[in-house]
Symmetry: C2
Subunit: 897 residues, 2 copies
Amino acid sequence: MARYVYGFHQGNKDMKDLLGGKGANLAEMTNLGLPVPPGFTISTQACREYLAGGEPVGLRAEIDHHLATLETARGRRLGQADDPLLVSVRSGAKFSMPGMMDTILNIGLTDQAVLGLAEQSGSPRFAWDSYRRLLAMFGRTVLGVGEPSFDAALEAAKRAKGTSSDLDLDENDLRALVATYQRIVLERTGRPFPQDPREQLDLAIRAVFDSWNGPRARLYRRTERIPDDLGTAVSVVAMVFGNLGTDSGTGVAFTRDPGSGEPGVYGDYLPNAQGEDVVAGIRNPVPLAELERIDPASFTELREIMTRLEKHYRDLCDIEFTIEHGRLWILQTRVGKRTAAAAFRIAAMLAEGGVIDDDEALCRVSGDQLATLMFPRFDDTARPAPIATGVNAAPGAAVGEAVFDAAEAVRVAAEGRPVILVRRETNPDDLAGMLAARGILTSRGGRTSHAAVVARGLGRTCVCGAEEIEVDPAGRRLTTGRGVVVREGDILSIDGTIGAVYPGSVPLVPSPVVEYFEAGRPDHPRPGGDLVAAVDRLMRHADRSRRLRVRANADTGPDAARARRFGAAGIGLCRTEHMFLGDRRTLVEQMILAGTPAERTEALSRLLPPQREDFVEIFTAMDGLPVTVRLLDPPLHEFLPDLTELSVSIAAADAAGRPVDDADRERLAVLRSMHETNPMLGRRGVRLALTVPGLVELQARAIAEALVRCRRVGGDPRPEIMVPFISTATELDAIRDRVRGVLAEVGTESGLEIDLPIGTMIEVPRAALTADQIARRAEFFSFGTNDLTQLLWGFSRDDVEASLLPRYLDLGILAGSPFASVDRDGVGALMRTAVRAGRGARPDLGLGVCGEHGGDPDSVHFFAELGLDYVSCSPFRVPVARLEAGRAAVLGRSTVG
Amino acid sequence: MARYVYGFHQGNKDMKDLLGGKGANLAEMTNLGLPVPPGFTISTQACREYLAGGEPVGLRAEIDHHLATLETARGRRLGQADDPLLVSVRSGAKFSMPGMMDTILNIGLTDQAVLGLAEQSGSPRFAWDSYRRLLAMFGRTVLGVGEPSFDAALEAAKRAKGTSSDLDLDENDLRALVATYQRIVLERTGRPFPQDPREQLDLAIRAVFDSWNGPRARLYRRTERIPDDLGTAVSVVAMVFGNLGTDSGTGVAFTRDPGSGEPGVYGDYLPNAQGEDVVAGIRNPVPLAELERIDPASFTELREIMTRLEKHYRDLCDIEFTIEHGRLWILQTRVGKRTAAAAFRIAAMLAEGGVIDDDEALCRVSGDQLATLMFPRFDDTARPAPIATGVNAAPGAAVGEAVFDAAEAVRVAAEGRPVILVRRETNPDDLAGMLAARGILTSRGGRTSHAAVVARGLGRTCVCGAEEIEVDPAGRRLTTGRGVVVREGDILSIDGTIGAVYPGSVPLVPSPVVEYFEAGRPDHPRPGGDLVAAVDRLMRHADRSRRLRVRANADTGPDAARARRFGAAGIGLCRTEHMFLGDRRTLVEQMILAGTPAERTEALSRLLPPQREDFVEIFTAMDGLPVTVRLLDPPLHEFLPDLTELSVSIAAADAAGRPVDDADRERLAVLRSMHETNPMLGRRGVRLALTVPGLVELQARAIAEALVRCRRVGGDPRPEIMVPFISTATELDAIRDRVRGVLAEVGTESGLEIDLPIGTMIEVPRAALTADQIARRAEFFSFGTNDLTQLLWGFSRDDVEASLLPRYLDLGILAGSPFASVDRDGVGALMRTAVRAGRGARPDLGLGVCGEHGGDPDSVHFFAELGLDYVSCSPFRVPVARLEAGRAAVLGRSTVG
């Protein structure tokens, strides 16, 4: 028989797959001898079986057994009328999903037991408050009674009492509220609130299981790329109470500052409260350091436990605790979330202190974190006076339109306008809006409120608990303490690093990390605590470790130079489109519209000198490093005006009797003849090179002549020619003949031997499928994973990314965009086949990637696994790819997890 | 050492790979003891090596040896001054490529030898004429001296003499012409005509090798799907002369009428001429039967040889012969080309006579031939009087614009207008025009002229040798004997079955073969010679033999009924697009533009009844057979007006101050928001079903309710639901849930159990790559090879078929359109993977094809090889697919070749 339930003494921190993070850590702390309330954990296995086919056989008997053990330990039975054992039922999956699933406290209270609890605790007010809380949580979570019922009743009671604080409600008020809540349950569900404590427990466990598949949880998992089939564990824990009076309370402690990584006493404490009050951000807690004054004994004990846990976990720990009549209880710990800066600083500090080695330090940070550190921040010299300040909950600088609900945030962002989402406080229903926003501003809640935790997880800038702001969602505006009004659509700037809110758009300056990359590596590493020094330490280790080279996508000399400063080992994709734009557009138009070969030749010959100069600049910036030049790719009509626009303007002019330029009519005729229904699948890439007379010769000559120029001044130019959009090997034969012809001509003219690698993009699925044939003609492959994804999925990115993909994410059809992270089952499988076939036909075949996936952390790991030689990405992503390539190598060596 | 050269006694008819068709058959006939002039054949192996890297080592020595043997046999040396041995050098590949490669006659003549030949033959005129011919052929073919040089000189000589016939030129005229020709050679090549006979021979052999890669030969091979890497053999044959006087001549004999298949004496004879005169169609020959009167002995001997060859080859033979001073020489034989009707009749007759079995008979015909028999013919009751008559060279009825050169034919056909190409005579340079034309009309040449042979090969209708017509290419018109003038662009109708030319457009009636299919099988098979009986015999054998089922693509009741008469085993693709068109367009527009859910529901509910009726009709027509219904596939904007057109009309109205309908502005706004850059890759297929509210429910309900209606009246409806454009298995999960929901509802409403197969198109490459995952959710796969080809190649058919593909064929990048015959290396390889993975995941997975390739003979063979269950094609192609499926089964059993 499978074992579904584990007592806390039966597990440890490495059993997260089975016990979830919360259950595993409760077990670990129990075994460390810390003051953890007794309890047991129902495994994720039970959840998976329950979700697949209903309650597993034997689960009930195991719960019976563990509940009996718990009752024996606490000396009373669940819901016992005169002295009830109360328990909490807490969800806890392998990966933290804050606020996504449900917790129910005070299970075991009934109409009888509440009287017993009043008697035993000596506080009837406490007992009725606890019962009220159970009814609300159970009603919402287990019985599906939606808001505003319970909250409205609570607000009404407070209004009647003329107060805004729960604490002002007395025993009678709360007893009346319990009656109201029970009536709501009966009305809304048709059944009274269950008076059998064990039925309460069973229903609560099921509700937690079911919450795994709730829409919020699913959305969160998709965002965080957590698999859907893990399930959650459920911990049943004896209740301890922080709301038994002023010698009680509850709080959250961090062993380091999760914003900076600095060691110290960080966290919040809320006297005379339950944990839910802290997490919900409804009441504002005091800084944890205050506890030393309020309850010095508990504070000292907590400090000792904090030190012990950080040493034990060798990382920042995030600890939830409750003090019940002066006795400290630890309810939860986990390796704490942190800002990107803190992640780098902690990893580097621990490595410097010898607590972890550099491999492990590297695995503690991520490319996504590095990317957030490279965001710009506000220019200090241009900051206006803040209109409000709050908690610096998630760092960064964000500018956008103030928007007052999640739906509007999604709508405005979909139009491409940046958004700051402003709420009194957030809850899980706001998730879509938080995803869509650049920044989040709330007027309530601290560093551990929903808004703060989720914003840090999503990498969104957040200022929370800006109490002087009055948020008016209905009126769609906020008013500051000094009477400044910000209406929906007005621009706000928020600084999550210091917790400030500014009117209008504050100018941005680059991040110090970017300045570090721009400057090259610092000569004198600064002390371990410094962010730049931490980044430097981990980047050096990544560079030492990685096998995958990182090149950049760069099209101009300045781009190439920047990419080189950022550590690029060459250019993996030099697009040539821009060489046909700007002041050359007239010549390009002349080339396209040419009536005679002579006109065309004239246009082409005038395009040659400036294009040669472009290449000289790029080769010079990348002297000694490879520069992969892609032949012209986009359809030619992209160099002409838009067909519909031109049609409309000519039709309007004709209708109004205005004269129309003959050249415009000619353009229209040519555009009509060139019109393609699906330009993505039309005359582009190699098809242009093969069918537009003189085009490939122009490009090959510009490259070859630039190479000659660079060599003549002692340079070491290393261009490679890359042919885009190959579907069949014979295309490559034809184009190679023509390119080599030009190279030979320029060779003869210059007296230099010109030989350079000719390779191809692998971006059309058929090319990947026939990679063996192609590899016999190509010296290198560069996977164009954007087009490969488009064609393999039949997804035009322009058309579906905004309209279809969000719907597919909603429907659970996709877990993420295949344009963001490479689709391993489809695109990845095809790449694997192509790599094998290509190397089979040509063992020294060069292999790279030049789609946007080249800068995506998850994809970089896949490309490293595939054994590619390099990835190429935008210059700004080069450090990210270097870091992730290092992590991939370290993880591949399995020195860590 | 490889052996490159074979004497005629060293080969046989089965050595075509090595000796080419001509060489193998010359060897076979030599061994049969027939009067074949002695000679030897240089193998295709020598050609391949020559083309790859120059003349193979050892080839020269082998030629020396065989030439010496030939000289010994004939008792004189090549080009011997007093009595020269002359030889012809003839190309001959494995597959017949009439007129595509070069032949040079009279090799061995020099300024000296011509005198010896004059002496020996007793005819100086003959000797000088032979030398003239050598100079012209050698000059053109070996030395690359282009026309009009030699022909112009000949025409000038005839003009000077006041004659139009070569025969009127005497010895002196011809001697002068030789001098002129030699001057032309010197002027045009800078070198005199070679006087070393062996040099002539070597150069001629190389020229034949080189001609394999000539542009005409390449184009022909692409058209006929002959591989480019076979190479040609070269036969060197002792010359015999048909132009030695009235007791000499040359001709072509067929053992049966290649037009009808009827046994008898068919062919042409041209007294006092060389073979080239017949093939070129320059002079008009007499019917072969005339030879009985002209030279009874040779005629009798020829008849005996014809009988013997047909018996030996068990098929229609096409024989070239020459009579030299009353002695018969056989120069060539091969299994003769024939019309489609003749192919069926011959195969059936030979099978009926027990000469071959039904398997072999089936392999002697093809689906392409059957397709040509299904073309319509002219309505006898509506035929006007012909304006001319000629030779019925290639059967069929063609109507089109008269066009007088190949380039114009290509241009007009590219505009989608049908063309009749009118020429005095055709030559290989006309090939592109002949391909583009529906029919070909010439004023010169017989059944064996270039026009006739090529037209039959290409399946084009042809009337040739319509001598009463005067063709004026410069004036772009023809004039008939009775003075009727037809100008370029005028419509002509030509009947290639009887050889008649009509003015204007003659109405067409269906072919008897189509009538046979329409009627079902005939109750009383007619005698073996009858075409319909022959088709019936071979179709029955195909149906008996095949494993592959053939379904039809049909969208309406009448189409379904016709498909069933044509032998379809169900519908493999029932498109539902038309159910949203016609008078339902308003409702569809209402559905798309709906402002409220109620408006949308209203539109959908009004679309339901007519769609249910559509399905009732189709299920009734296919009662008892499967009907695979594809859910709506095209993007919704296809149901609205065109964006550019509407923009232009509104802009023009606005500019002119005309009022614009508000509904049009609304349409424009919606169209703009729905606009897709690449609709092929946008919101279509399953993406519509998943995102347009109510759409899939409407379709599923219409199908289910139609099923209920049919069952209620005792029918056996067998619908299957097919989901288009799946990229990932989760799409199928979502859509199956929704479809099953509707089926369950209709089941409850009707009290019937409704269960029907739900499967998917495999048309997006990713679906094929993840076929195992998809097969777990799909009861069948139907490969949509059109879209699969588009996406795998990155080819939008709409955009590239007219513009890019022809250029790619020209450049030799493609051998044929991948939309015509399935691309085995790409699409085929992916299908193979998907079939294996799909069957691995679900062993009873149904597998079919519903792209246009389902009716393409070559593709049908591939699908049979893959082990698919069925192909689906247009009703008219169903018999073709049945026949080819039978042939594939027979060939797969290897009972034949």
